[in-house]
Amino acid sequence: MTQYSAWDWGVGSKTVADLSACDCDIEWREESLASPDGEQVAAVVKTGDAEFGVCVNGECWEPRYERVWYLKYSPDGRLTALANDQGDWTLCVNGEQWEEGYGFLWNTMFSKDGSVIACCVADSMTYGMVVDGVAWENLYANANNFILSPDGRKSAAVVQTVPLGQAEIFKFKEGVYSVAVDGEAWDVNFVNAWTPIFNTDTSLVAAQIRVNLFDYTIAVNGKPWAEIFNQVWEPRFHPKTNAVVAPVRVSGRWGMARDGKLIWQPTFFQVWQQQFNPSGDQLAAIVCPEYGRWTLAVDGKPWNTTFGDMVMDMTYSPDGRRLAALGKQDGKWTVFADDRPWSGQYDMCYAPVFSPDSAHVAARVEKQGRFTIVVNGKEYGTTFDQCFDPTFSPDSSKVLIRGIAGGKYQRIVEPVTQIIG
């Protein structure tokens, strides 16, 4: 696949593939997946008795496996799938498998640009990660909460460093879990650790920890904050200063702490999924300011638009000045941006997408079983049996629409003005 800027941004639509056509005999075709540039559509196909392959634009990959699953496009457009080759698991990238086989592989991850691909690995009852086909040197009795740094240089997971027998509750309380970075565990154990995350230059990892059965805090490179809390959620690094923020619960209410000190007073019924904007001068989170009502808060100040069912997928615009998220009320979803909801109500919405100039926000939506995309609250005229997330062109003037209708996969580039009128 070519670079994003070099994708075909010429306005128009084309049928890329007829989904019923495949150059090999197939018993069935599983879920379709479109490539980021829209030029490909792929699916796992059953090609024979206990034999599976991957069909891309009507052509099957050469290798066949006993099982193929977890089909994913990396952000750079390479197609990956987990495959079982006579008992050994491998990752297939564009039809080429990793050299090494493993006991089990799952949860494929990509660096932000897609150049690095990683998986979780279990081999001979030990656990860790494989990055671009190379496993960590140290594997552990168990590992979970896996993460690859956005630049792909490092990987980390929560690992079990001490053996634990059946019902050894007292040993458990002494701490048998730690965080391993590239397979090297911190030199300290905790009762629990969750959701490790890297800072921008990957020199630091922060994670939630539990230090006994009821005291929670955040540890950075193994060093816990001095303050403990009744509960914490996922930490996030400031993009520039390396300060760490995390939602914390104090006397039954949630606030936000930075490096252990409260920066948002604990007045909320819930706070989570906080994010800094790209420059780091603003911090937003999903909050529950009043029991049963959900919205976003920016620097601790809640918005006015609230939803009763749920709020998710908070997204910052590239310039960091705008925020959008999904809100659900009475079973119907919508997008809300800049504290205003769209007028459309949907059975499902997918994560909002901003244009590079931050002027537009779009989302894939579903209504009565039909899918389309919506830009700034205006629905695209055509609906699909299935569609994928929209992507704006580098100059923000066009939008790439990928959809399936009548068994055909289409790639469409529309001027934004055409949709928003």
Partner: protein, 438 residues
């Protein structure tokens, strides 16, 4: 009155070694003062000690009406004493209070229906468990389960890969019978996320198989997650660890939200339903589950009434139906369940009392999860259920709840009842039309 037996449990006993009177006092007053508040005060002030709730409790009835096993008797042995003494109670007292609250009450909420003031004894027993959690004197086995939840986000220490592997394996198995069947993993945009409890991938894979058969043969658009978040169970709810309960439920709902499903359908489990539909969502700030949750019983009913699920043959042997507290008192599913049972079974023999007045299996509320040390006492504490079952005269009992299965199994064994237990899904799987079967 029979002598009271105080059972040895490593979790309680070793935990208690570390207690000091100061810590006990401080913890009790903190929990009762900061967390319980007005509701507890109202209960304590309104209770007329009338004892009307006593006969509601299977422990009381099964133990020859020993008042120490009556609902209010349990409060007397725990919360009242703590309040009276303003938290100045002994280590020994606390050990006994744990046994009462954690192993002699199923939090089944049968008694609340008989109290003229609607006093919720289960709530007060939960407070005692909360105190025990903070004092680290929770019974060993259920504490271990809570630890598993915290470390793996499931009840049975199932590792991330083992879960996926179990589903792959069941998919291979099911294709022997239904060649085109799938267990779609992590399918974004499916209508249904099917979630189960920890023991299913470990010991009861046939239930996943049967559920998959039902999903496939009724044409459901469904998925199961390939990540933690698949387990809807929650023993942390029953050890008073509400923080961990919140963490588990967040993971469950986040997973459903990530997969963009319209609803969560959960297997035949009672306590998990309570956690997902009632306590867990609320502790996080949601009045109702953010993604609608449908219990298996209701799901079967929906499938049957929409014509997707068709009866191929009837289960001829007479059956009885055990109402799991958490889905009848907690959700009122007893009639829907019976409609499904009647559709598939020729002869349903009711046990009495039933429906929302049904006696608990004595396993629920985390009691069975306290493990072997408490097994005999638990089974003795539910003679009345054995009598109920025996009186039906049938040889098959449908119990659509995992814990109920465990509890009833023990009762059947101890009281020598010749009864086989079944999940409703098992019967449906056996008797439904399977158009794609070979």
């Amino acid at each position: 009155m029979k002598e009271r037996v105080w059972i040895q449990d490593e979790g309680i006993d070793r935990g208690a070694e570390k207690l000091t009177p100061e810590r006990i006092e401080k913890t009790i007053n903190a929990v009762l003062g900061n967390e319980a508040g007005a509701r507890l005060k109202a209960y304590v002030e309104t209770c007329a000690h009338c004892g009307l709730c006593a006969e509601a409790c299977h422990f009381y009835m099964s133990r020859d009406k020993d008042p120490r096993f009556s609902p209010v008797g349990k409060v007397k042995q725990t919360i009242w004493e703590m309040l009276d003494k303003k938290g100045k109670v002994s280590v020994e007292f606390m050990k006994q209070a744990v046994q009462v609250a954690q192993t002699e009450c199923n939090l089944c909420r049968r008694c609340v229906q008989y109290c003229p003031f609607g006093i919720d004894i289960a709530y007060m027993m939960s407070l005692v468990r909360r105190i025990a959690h903070k004092l680290e004197i929770t019974p060993l086995y259920i504490q271990d389960t809570a630890h598993s939840h915290s470390a793996t986000m499931n009840q049975m220490w199932v590792k991330d890969d083992e879960w996926i592997d179990a589903l792959h394996w069941q998919e291979d198995e099911i294709r022997e019978e239904l060649p085109a069947a799938r267990i779609p993993l992590d399918k974004e945009g499916a209508e249904i996320m099917y979630s189960v409890i920890g023991p299913e991938p470990k010991f009861r894979t046939q239930l996943i198989y049967q559920a998959a058969a039902i999903m496939n043969e009724t044409g459901c658009d469904w998925t199961m997650p390939a990540t933690p978040g698949w387990d809807n169970s929650d023993m942390a709810m029953y050890t008073g660890d509400s923080e961990m309960m919140g963490r588990l439920k967040r993971m469950h709902f986040d997973t459903a939200a990530r997969l963009r499903v319209k609803k969560i359908v959960m297997g035949e489990c009672g306590h998990a339903f309570r956690s997902v539909y009632d306590t867990g969502n609320r502790v996080l700030g949601w009045r109702m589950p953010p993604v609608p949750v449908i219990h298996a019983l209701e799901f079967y009913w929906d499938l049957l009434n929409s014509g997707k699920l068709k009866v191929a043959k009837k289960f001829e042997e007479p059956v009885t139906f055990h109402d799991p507290c958490n889905v009848v008192r907690g959700r009122g599913l007893h009639e829907k369940a019976r409609e499904v049972v009647r559709a598939f079974c020729t002869n349903l023999v009711e046990m009495y009392p039933n429906k929302e007045h049904n006696y608990c299996c004595a396993a629920g509320g985390g009691v069975i999860n306290c493990g072997p040390p408490f097994k005999n006492a638990r089974v003795e504490g539910n003679r009345i259920k054995a009598e109920q079952l025996r009186a039906t005269g049938v040889k098959v009992c449908i119990a659509p709840c995992h814990n109920c299965h465990g509890g009833l199994e023990d009762i059947i064994h101890k009281y020598k009842l010749d009864i086989e237990l079944k999940f409703l899904g098992e019967i449906i799987y056996d008797c439904m039309e399977k158009p794609n079967a070979v």
